[in-house]
Amino acid sequence: MTGGALLRQVALLALFIVTAGFWIYFSVAASGFTSDFNLFSLLRFAAIQITIGFAQMVALSIGDLNLAVGAIGGATGMIAGWAMQILGLPPDVAVLFALAAGMLLGFGNALLITWTRINSFIVTLATASLITGAMLIVTHSDPFSRLPDSFTSFSETEVSGLPVSNLVLVMLAVGVALFFLYRNLSLGREMLAVGANRRAARMSGLSVDRVVLLTHGLSGALAATAGLMAIAADHTASPSLGSDWLLASFVAPAIGGTLLSGGLVSVPGTIVGGILLATISNGLLLVGIDNFWITVFLGVVLLLAVVLDRVTRAAGGAAP
């Protein structure tokens, strides 16, 4: 084990301890924190935040950004709502429909990036505004609030009597798949190679354009997954869905040790990071801290995470 890898394990452990510390503190300080109802909604919220984080983490792994995560999640959530409420499609068909739409939108981003060679920041800034604009024009900003019970009850179901929503299982399944992708599949290794050094990857014969295409397609599909989870939990597909995902999409991966410059991801880190994020939001509210101040707190957490990451990497030598 190299020094850098050891340091990352220590950082993940530290993140875990910090999260556990918050859980102990809130269990004592905030009445109702450990109630089944609260734990259920906390973990469900965390599952959605983590999936949003996954969508960004995947783009970060190749050194790109996806500012359209919220736009894709919102638009595909609306598509699923429309498919179920207006077309009357069964939920599983609507889900597949929305996932395909998310992947196609991701492919669109990738094609624009590889075709024009323009920075992913500008491309996804522009497509985010195109996607959200088109969604609002088509839907006239009307929500779909009569989703079938068979769809919404999925997020309410507890897993074998524990205060854990089915959505948490969805998130965990996605996490395991991503872990496997980056650990065992050649595509995952190629994504990391492109993220670590795009030029070197290209010169050693990797088809960088293919990797970019698949990565953004995956990011789009994950954003759609988060959108579907959110409309299931909210019982409504609202046109404002996704508009506040930008911070969340970066915080969980950044706290978890995913490098913003690419080449290094941490699936367990993103999961623990997302749980920490949800714990702080939920606990501070229960302690009676104003909802508005929590935004400040999350901004500070993001800043601390990236600065700490910088410091530990400087201490551990060159970036892996």
Binding site: L125, A126, T127, I131, L247, F250, L302, L303, V306, V307
Partner: protein, 330 residues
């Protein structure tokens, strides 16, 4: 050459033509476009959004970004309004405090970027939530109503179709252009953005350039927030919430490069005129307001794609023609 690159004359000329055609089309299809009131309202929106775009451009010229422009504008506006409405602080003092706050927010961004050497995108994303959160924590999302009359009447003041606010924007735009193209520190800023490594090796003051660019960005955001507060007549906590897209649209359509080294003031002005024309045109033909967002997105993509292909086309054309010329002379 460097100077020409900074000014991006080709882009500016193209945008100027598009703007003129746009104005012509609008004045033909909707006579209301040329009405004094419409020109005043459009000019006022343009005055504010142009400052927002310039606030981004000055940081982009350094090869960095500022995602917190909207949050700074909003925080400054509600602090000023709060001081005047809640605590009865005299208007000049309250406005001065707000503008200083904007500069301080910008300097905080600059120091964070300089010290940590972390990507300015993620740092200013973090500070944007801190500034926006402080705004909401103070106001609980309720506006400070009824700012003093001198402030709100400035927001409505006009000479014919000409909003008084535009005077502030014009002066600040000229000062910024003068600073970037004529003052040593401004030229150094562009040099640092163009090639940070070369700038460091040749001993340019990178720290001062970084802090200056972010301070100017914070100041322009603060002025924009103040002007929007004056226009609305109240300290709205949502001021600045929608500025992120126009802040990038202006400089990018105007010919700025994300990598830094270019500061197309004229291009940014003309790009913002185009966006105002689109905005106003959609209002005049009473189209769905959501088209604005869609069209700005399309415009950004169109502008960068066009800029990219045009350069390649010109290069390809030159290469072909030179070989042909070489072939015929032999």
């Amino acid at each position: 050459m460097h100077r020409l690159r900074g000014l991006a004359p080709g882009v500016a000329l193209g945008l100027l033509l598009i703007d003129l055609v746009g104005m012509l089309v609008l004045s033909v299809i909707t006579p209301a476009f040329l009405s004094s009131y419409n020109l005043f309202v459009t000019g006022r929106d343009l005055s504010i959004l142009l400052l927002v775009a310039l606030a981004q451009m000055v940081v982009l010229s350094l090869g960095q970004m500022n995602l917190s422009i909207g949050s700074i504008g909003g925080l400054v506006a509600i602090i000023e309004a709060g001081l005047m409405v809640r605590y009865g602080v005299p208007v000049p003092l309250a406005l001065a405090a707000g503008l200083v706050l904007g500069v301080v927010c910008g300097v905080i961004n600059g120091l964070l970027v300089y010290w940590t050497k972390i990507n300015s995108f993620v740092l200013t994303l973090g500070t944007s939530y801190v500034f926006a959160g402080i705004n909401l924590g103070i106001t609980h999302a309720t506006p400070f109503y009824h700012v003093p009359n001198e402030v709100s009447s400035f927001g409505q003041a006009r000479v014919g179709p000409f909003p008084l606010m535009a005077g502030v924007t014009i002066v600040l735009t000229l000062l910024l252009a003068g600073f970037l193209y004529q003052v040593v520190l401004g030229r150094q800023l562009l040099a640092v953005g163009g090639n940070p490594l070369a700038a460091r090796l040749s001993g340019l003051p990178i720290r001062r350039a970084t802090l200056t660019a972010h301070a100017i960005s914070g100041f322009l955001a603060a002025v924009a927030g103040t002007m929007l507060m004056a226009q609305l007549g109240q300290g709205q906590p949502t001021i600045g919430a929608t500025w992120i897209l126009p802040s990038f649209a202006g400089p990018i359509i105007g010919g700025a490069a994300l990598a830094g080294g270019s500061a197309p003031v004229l291009g940014t002005v003309l790009a913002m005129v185009l966006i105002s024309l689109i905005d106003d045109g959609l209002v005049l033909v009473s189209a769905d307001p959501f088209w604005v967002q869609f069209l700005i997105g399309a415009l950004i993509l169109g502008a960068v794609v066009l800029g990219r292909t045009r350069l390649n086309d010109i290069r390809a054309f030159l290469r072909i023609s030179t070989t042909r010329v070489a072939g015929t002379t032999r």
